[in-house]
Structure formats: structure tokens, C-alpha cells
Assembly symmetry: C2
Homo-oligomer: 258 residues x 2
């Protein structure tokens, strides 16, 4: 099985509220057709989730009744994105069906407390491609919280032990400094606990409602244990995802558990 | 708790593919605000589901691989409708959040095999209004099947034992003959097993992919056991749903278990 995360920064313009990148998503769909194995997809919420979630502090859980209207609105927005992704995937030839995280998992303190992959398995057995996504979810200790796409990736990896997990980002992989600010930044082809520790010392982190980039990388390292191969590729560069799926050499960061 | 089904014939134009009745849905949202108790909503698929589902025989389960593309497409269409309903409800002041049936239930031979209301309960506890809907779902014996909104209503009623369950239809209730063809048709104010048996003898049934009208009424009679009151009102007539929720006298058919 192959597990692919379509990052929120690839399928949306993260800086502009609810801006979907339809062309990118349709292209990624055709690249996904390279998969000979069954596929499970996850996508981030991008600008359909993070901006409003942050404005109303939804990542901090229930504080006041007024937030609930925004829980409903952000969930609605995220489903609008999911619908657009599903549509683009179907147009690209993938038999994509939506599966929201709260239909399979329960959450406690921003973590997955239980995960039942049965519904995913049934969809896969039928020959369909389940598509889950980052979402606002009920949380047993916080009332509600944000379930990132990465969190679902982790649960899916533990269950399905995929041959390959690919994270499509808007950069070529992990760099030794921020490639958007430093043109001399160098790509780290192989990221492990040691290279991450080194990186953390040298570079400050930018946060979004699903945590810092280092938190994300820590989770990827943990998740890599359950995958034959786990990698980050640039989803904005045509062909990268396809090559990764085909097992070809590709510009990327391979995440190595230990 | 109050359980309300927004019939597919009320929120969509059932004869025209994917035609949403936004005004009707927004009006029903404001009528729902009359509820002093927590609300769980279910909506039918209307012309976003039935037309294509019937064309590709999805209600008969898996027959050939070609159907799977249409399973994905009909699921997508139904989610488009759900998104529109959620949007209209939020605009009307309801904190509506989507919950697809396959996130809570498993299915076998067009029936609910297991139903876990935990996610609905969590959303209710938060003060949100869960909204489920008729959908194409994985089915353990048929591959996939159609889960009607009525089927979800039944499972929800068994779990929550609602004070009131209201089915919003495009007619005033159940008539002794088809009111669309016979102007002398008389409304049955109180429907029980006996009056249904009488009705069945005198009138032929029209089918959709979720079964004949008599099948629906049989299920309502079964479900009425779990509700303090169970009724059918005309969702197209402004104020009927509101009055039903307020416990006021209203043109309707009350469904009585025995």
C-alpha cells in the first residue's frame, strides 16, 4: 500500500483564504495513477482551515461558546476543500472517496486515542481510494481540537505498514536552513534523529495551528518506523510524486527512523 | 432530543439532477431554531443521489468494476449537497457539522449491522448539531449499498430515544390515495399498522433507490416505538416544521407504533 499526503501548501495558497490550486491537484491526481498498489490519501487543510482556526484559537480547544460557530464554519470550509480535492482526483482518474478523520478516530489532548481502520480497509477492498484530511475534531479532554493531516498519516501508517509514504510539500524536502530565505540552503537527502537535532539548534521554527515544522518532522521520524520508505517531495514540481511512487531516483528528503 | 429528517424532495428538485433548493433549506434552518432541545439532523440525497445511483444500479450492490467510478461520483455529489445544506443551516444560525453515515455505522445487506453513536454524542455534548445524510456506503455482503436517510434516522432513534422525530416531506403527510394525482385524497392524521395495511391494498407504490413508500412507512412505524412522538410534516409549507417542534397543532401525519 502507498500512503500519500497532499500538503495544504501544495493544494491551496496558504496565504490567501480558501484558495484552491485546482491545476496542481489535477496534475497530482495523474501522477498518482502511477501507483500499482492501493492508495490511501490524506490532505492538509491549507488556507481552508489554518487561517480561521488560528483566528478563533480552535487549536487550543474549547474556551468559550462563541467558538462553536467557528468550529462549524471551519469544518464546513475544510469539507469544501475536500470536495474540490475529491473532484480533481476523480477527474484525474482516481476513484476517490472522502473519509473524515472523526469517522475513524477519537481524540484526546490533540492525540489519537483510538483509530479504527475498518472503514478504510473496506473502501480499499472495494477498489476505491479513501481520502482523509486535516479537520476540527471532537477531543475528549479539550472539547475539540485540530487533527492535522500528519496525525492521520501516522495512524494510517501504523495500521497499514505501507511500502511507501510520501509527503508532498511546497519545498524539495528538508533543508539545513530556510530555502525561502537563504539561497545557499542545502537539501538534506536523508533525515534522521541526529540531523534533525542539528537542524533544531541552527534554525528557528515557524508555527501553524498544527505545530512547528520540527514537531512535524519528529512525527515523521516516528512514523517512518512503520513504512518501508518515508519521504518528502516537492509537490509543486511536476513528476516528483510520480517518480517517488515508481521508486525512481528523485529530489527529496528520505526520512529514516533510526 | 429532537431528530429531524429533511427529505430529499424538500431540499432538492428530485426530478432535476443536482438541483438544490437553497431558499427552502435556509427557511427550514430558521424553523429549526425553535428547538429548545439538542438537535440531530439527517437529510436525503434527492437529485444529488437517486438519479445517478439508479442509472448505475448502485442500490443493487457491486456487479462490475465499472460501477466504482460512479460510487465515487455519487458520493461526491451527495457531499456537495451536504455541504450546501450545512452552509444553509449555518447561515440560518444552526451550528451544523457534517457526519457521514459510514463514519458511525457498518452495513450488511442494506441494513445497519453496527452503529456507534459516540461521535454524534460528542458533537451534541459540545453544543453542535450533527448532520448525517443518505449515502453510498460499504456493505459487507454487497460490496456497497445505499444507506437511506431513513435508515440513519432509525439508528439514531434507537440510540437517542428522541422526544420528537419529524420527517419533512413534500406532502402534508400520508394520504389515503396519491394527493398529486387525486384532488380528493384525504390526509391520514394518525397512521398505524392497521391504516397502513389498508392503504397498501388500495394504492400502488412508486419506487426510488431506497425502496417503495410503503417500505419507508413500515420503517417509520418500527422507529416510532423509540420516539415519544414521530410525525410527517410538509417541509414545503412555511411554519409546519416550526410548529411541530414547538408541539403546536399542525397539519401532519402522526406515526403510531401500535
Amino acid at each position: 500500500m502507498i500512503l500519500v499526503k497532499l500538503g495544504g501548501s501544495v493544494i491551496t495558497d496558504k496565504s490567501r483564504l480558501r484558495t484552491f490550486k485546482a491545476d496542481a491537484c489535477r496534475r497530482l491526481a495523474t501522477e498518482l495513477l502511477a501507483a500499482k498498489e492501493s492508495l490511501v490519501l490524506v490532505h492538509g487543510a491549507g488556507s481552508f482551515g489554518h487561517i480561521e482556526a488560528k483566528r478563533h484559537q480552535l487549536h487550543k480547544g474549547f474556551k468559550e461558546d462563541e467558538q462553536l460557530e467557528h468550529v462549524a464554519k471551519v469544518q464546513r470550509d475544510v469539507r469544501e476543500l475536500n470536495l474540490k480535492v475529491i473532484e480533481a482526483l476523480i477527474e484525474g482518474g482516481i476513484r476517490a472517496v472522502s473519509f473524515p478523520p472523526a469517522g475513524a478516530a477519537t481524540f484526546r489532548a490533540c492525540s489519537v486515542r483510538s483509530f479504527d481502520a475498518d472503514a478504510f480497509r473496506k473502501l480499499l477492498d472495494l477498489g476505491l481510494t479513501p481520502v482523509s484530511f486535516g479537520d476540527v475534531v471532537p477531543d475528549e479532554s479539550m472539547g475539540f481540537s485540530i487533527c492535522s493531516g500528519d496525525l492521520i498519516m501516522d495512524s494510517l501508517a501504523k495500521t497499514f505498514r505501507p511500502k511507501l509514504a510520501v509527503f508532498c510539500a511546497d519545498v524539495d524536502g528538508v533543508f539545513d536552513s530556510d530555502p525561502k530565505r537563504n539561497p545557499k540552503a542545502r537539501l538534506i537527502a536523508r533525515l534522521d534523529q541526529k540531523s534533525l537535532a542539528k537542524l533544531k539548534k541552527s534554525e528557528p521554527a515557524n508555527d501553524d495551528v498544527t505545530g512547528s515544522i520540527y514537531g512535524k518532522l519528529e512525527r515523521m521520524l516516528a512514523m517512518a518506523r512503520y513504512c518501508e520508505k518515508c519521504m518528502i517531495v516537492n509537490g509543486n514540481v511536476p513528476g516528483r510524486l510520480e517518480k517517488a511512487i515508481q521508486g525512481k531516483k528523485v529530489v527529496s528528503t528520505v526520512v529514516v527512523a533510526r
